[in-house]
Symmetry: D2
Subunit: 383 residues, 4 copies
């Protein structure tokens, strides 16, 4: 008998939101969750209507997360986990409340709005029995995981260079006031002091960290807000130095016409290079020195990798995309939580981005902001 | 309030099967269905175990489709639709029984094993109140639908050429006897007289028909079984003539090393060409005569097309793939069925492949087999 | 001391011509030729003016090829070779006259307008001491040659499939009368009964033959003239059977909008596939069964191939193109001719397309025309 | 009558050299030059043997450039121009001598080893009647020129971002002592203090300057020598600020496995982006905001640009490459020199990189070196 589905609640993600719907689809794809409760909006009417849209029972459609955590805790069939899909500034209080209530957390990134909050949440998480996952969803792609394995087993040699970029075009022009997605992202009070840097720069940073295994020691950054009047950065240039001597560049932008969601990473060792691009996620390039490049695809027949293969649902040549990678994170968490019901732990835990990743991301944001303000002075992540 | 989910049963798709799991994921992605019953295997033990895997209630885990249709008909909460995901030879009896029981059908392709069966099923379907959908899933891709709209509105001019291909590599070598996927596909008793032709050639044919809007009038074909001892074709070469004077070629193969799932179509009119390839489904190329090629992507901001946009779940640059396209078919059917509950019809019906498509596919298979046996004589689809 | 340059004459290629200029550039690139004489046009004034453009001495600017061959034969420094770059119908008389005068010939393709002429020229060539080269220039690309070597040494196993295509767009619309390039190509009296088939179909056929090493035994063809009033084909569909049991398809068209010069070949054996496309000639794909595809590039450091490496002039990553491949044919011929001065032969001779290739090409054209006229009956190349 | 060919001498480029052969092919492609004299090596025997290889008359095979300039000046048919293809440190003295002798100069890049030399040469060039061209050959590609025109006429709007990169792999490992190409490039005495930066970084800088029309005001750089013991940089990271407020990044490396000759530029304005990559030079991408990307190719039928079209020799779809772009620079210079014979000037002069470009390149090198030494301090190009 398959284990019962995880009972899931959601905070945020009501009508008009974007990432909440993504989390819900991700939770359904492998059928490991059922969404049974929600505090989907800070607006009570929207919360109620949104819950109806989602066929959530009326008595579990809450108008605040505090209420949801309290009431659900009192039920036998109360939620086991909560997905936090609010704007950034709400991540901290909701996650804190959940962890303190012993509810497992699946939190969108960046983990919090400030490094101070992230460090505090780290303490809370380490003292809680609840599990904390951060949806750096790009780590869910099978070939991203395979790339990390290739690096770990030495396929590309000693790493020298990490070139990562994440350009988009969608904020090239001033946004109309009624663009819900844009408005909170450019409001420091809700999104944090970082604009593009926090929204997508953290994904680029996390991907580089995840695949390369290397830690950035210091950054030299130049941030710009190209659109007149925009209160946060919309373009980020960073040079990076890594602890082992590697170097790198990170570019992220939301004012690059023609770039849709151009997350792309290239890592070069002294034996070979690796290239992966999010818009074409079913291929990974291994480029050995003085030999033909190899196009590795999402195949369970030749990838000698449990971690990559477990993220493959359909045969090679049938493209899987963003939602499937996101779903893999959810499914991995489900495996952890189902084991936890029986007091067990599972290996997959180490592949799921958690609070450590969140803290590191905020350290990166903080150092980049500081460097840029100091006329691009090299700034350590751990001063 | 959102409409209640469609109550779905499934025939086939037990442990070890492939396409059943795809249908289940497709049905879940947009949350319009719940799988409540199944006759998942002709082997009762496998049927039971498979139902347990899927958290289907034990009393609704049937060991035959006949039993399922009978028992479910007697329940107030009985299934409204059935997904048929068996090997080809079972499509006909199961679909017939479902339609005659007034249960809506979502059937995998090809619709039946023979043209005779297809024609009989056509009669049954036309006399039934139940809805019949055929999962030619590639028609669910937003850019495939957009391509059809471009053709319809004359963007490429009068169509002259349709070049379609669908090569795979996975049957290049003789298959071990225990490969469940390969074994029924190469058994004429279960798969039909066509091998590769029926398995994937029909997809290529249907895609060409769907996008171009043109009807094939006759075919000139050369079938081959390259692997010694294989009782059905593993490579198909076809020249096509269309009713309006257009011509084309269709190539499909399962012995082409390096080809994963290479469905690709190019259509040329007297003003422009169109190219779409399944392995990179989020782009569509419009190539006007004597002008730069245009790379059209899956974007709700510039595609002036309701039908394309309704299949888009996430922003441009975040790849959607095979499962999402499949899910779109399921979601379209759900919309039809939810309207049907209230005695209504909806426009989307005309975009869903149905029994007509199934019959046309069998006519194509039949004519290709006949042409190849007659030393590639031009053979009409409607003699 | 380097050997003196080959003294070259040219027939055709005056003002307004296309391929003559290509031959001249090709002859200069490696500095093995000097163009010293020409009968550049059948129009005496154009012949004279064209010679002046090219800095050919006035006394060697001839108004007929007969005159050129006679006068040059009488000079100590007379031409050693002639490049024939006229419309197709003149290839035969000029080549015949040259060979009979003992002048080496570099002839554009197709070798003649009819098979009868080709067979007669074959006899003349075999009885002549002069060397005869046919500029099937695509065989000059280093990676085309390397592909042939890979096939020969068994890298792809036993060949089963040869899929070749060569679409263009430039004759999609009726041509204005003053388009010199189009007018002779669509005039059967000058170009032969084949239109697109002779102009570019022969290149596709030759490339397939050159790389695969396989001989076509019979063809099943469907020719079309899509543009109203066009007296020759502008689209060609062919199914092919090879002597060893392989099969294939050939498509060539001049009415395919978006296709510039889309010569592309894919060959599949039972171990691997090979893909090469003329518009991106510096890469060759080896696609082994159940393993990552390999992108082989034009590199002298890892290609273990004398024949490929000799065609490389500049380091990898610096693209070489059409003119360089053409030049390689010229340079190979120069090596033959310089050896011939000393009564020697050189191995490279076997890599240069000659009269045999020309005859085979006309057999292909003839069989394709016959098949198409016989409602696509399978027609042998050697009846 | 065509104008007589330009009489060309060459300094450097003897046996074992690389770029000399490239210059010679480039000079021959359009038949505007004849190579009549050379001081091909500082080693007299090599100089003599190399001249014989090239069929240069023995009396014009010089063992020093001083001798060549003196003797040729005394001949009626003496050289009109000299190609300087030596290692970097010899560019200055040879160019100086040529300019002072009134001989036109075609000089490889970078123009000199130091900024001081470049500034001195600038004065000499401005006082000389001789023409000075710098072979930044990538500016010869038709689509690079077209890109510049598109920028100039506002097709991409106000420029905000310039992202340029030029990675290679060939120096990933320590070079054997006998690699002639590597040895002088890593010897500061011959190549200058910059390694990779001077060798290819200048190309990237020049391309960015050429297409964008923007001037870099200051740089923030981090140079690395990854290979132990290498005395000059093999990897260069630079952030750039432009005079008009644009920003950019430049990455160049010679230790990036899988990168052959990866010069690539992306420029983003507030209306559209442009992308061009040297390894696929026959296409240019225009990416308008919120509209399909356009793939512009090297076509004389739709490019509304005299400057782009003049660099096209063969029809679209027939790839032209590195040598053709290089030849275009040579042909442009020939047009200038042929006009100069008659005391005329021609518009094309403004498209040919000259001493200004050379000085700017050295300013860039100098500022990057200074910034890197100052822990990546922002450093102005014109302090």
């Amino acid at each position: 008998m398959a284990a019962p589905r995880i009972r899931l609640g959601m905070v945020g993600g009501g009508r008009g939101a974007f990432i909440g719907a993504v989390h819900r689809i991700a939770s359904r794809i492998d059928d490991k969750y059922e969404l049974v409760a929600g505090a989907l909006s800070s607006n009570p009417e929207n919360a109620k209507a949104s819950a109806e849209d989602l066929l959530i029972a009326p008595d579990r459609a809450y108008s605040s997360y505090e209420e949801m955590f309290k009431d659900e805790a009192a039920r036998d069939d109360g939620i086991e986990a909560v997905a936090i899909v609010t704007p950034n500034h709400m991540h901290f209080p909701v996650a804190k409340a959940a962890l303190e209530a012993g509810i497992n957390v699946i939190c969108d990134k960046p983990v919090t709005r400030t490094l101070e909050e992230a460090l505090e949440l780290e303490k809370i998480a380490k003292n809680s029995d609840a599990f904390f996952a951060l949806t750096h969803n790009y780590s869910g792609y099978p070939l991203v995981r395979y790339a990390r394995e290739m690096v770990e087993r030495g396929d590309i040699g000693n790493i020298r260079l990490v070139q990562v970029e994440y350009p988009q075009e969608w904020m090239t022009e001033p946004q109309p006031d009624d663009n819900k997605q844009a408005s909170w992202r450019t409001d420091p009070a809700r999104s944090g002091a970082a604009g593009c840097l926090g929204d997508i720069g953290t994904h680029a940073f996390q991907l580089a960290r995840f695949i390369s295994g290397q830690k950035v020691s210091s950054v030299c950054a130049d941030l710009t807000a190209f659109v007149p009047g925009r209160p946060v950065d919309d373009n980020v240039h960073v040079m990076m130095r890594f602890e082992n001597g590697a170097k790198g560049m990170l570019w992220t932008s939301q004012v690059a016409p023609g770039c849709e969601n151009g997350l792309r990473i290239r890592i070069f060792g002294d034996k070979a290079g690796l290239t992966w691009a999010q818009e074409n996620p079913n291929e990974l390039w291994l480029t050995p020195l003085a030999a033909p490049a190899q196009r590795i695809t999402r195949r369970d027949d030749y990838l000698d990798s449990d971690i990559a293969v477990r993220g493959i649902r359909i045969p090679f040549g049938h493209p899987e995309g963003y939602l499937e990678a996101f779903a893999t994170i959810y499914t991995d968490v489900a495996e952890v939580l189902q084991a936890k019901r029986e007091g067990k732990t599972v290996d997959i835990e180490s592949w799921i981005p958690g609070i450590d990743t969140g803290v590191e991301g905020l350290k990166f944001i903080t150092a980049v902001l500081a460097s840029s303000e100091a006329d691009s002075r090299w700034t350590p992540l751990n001063p």
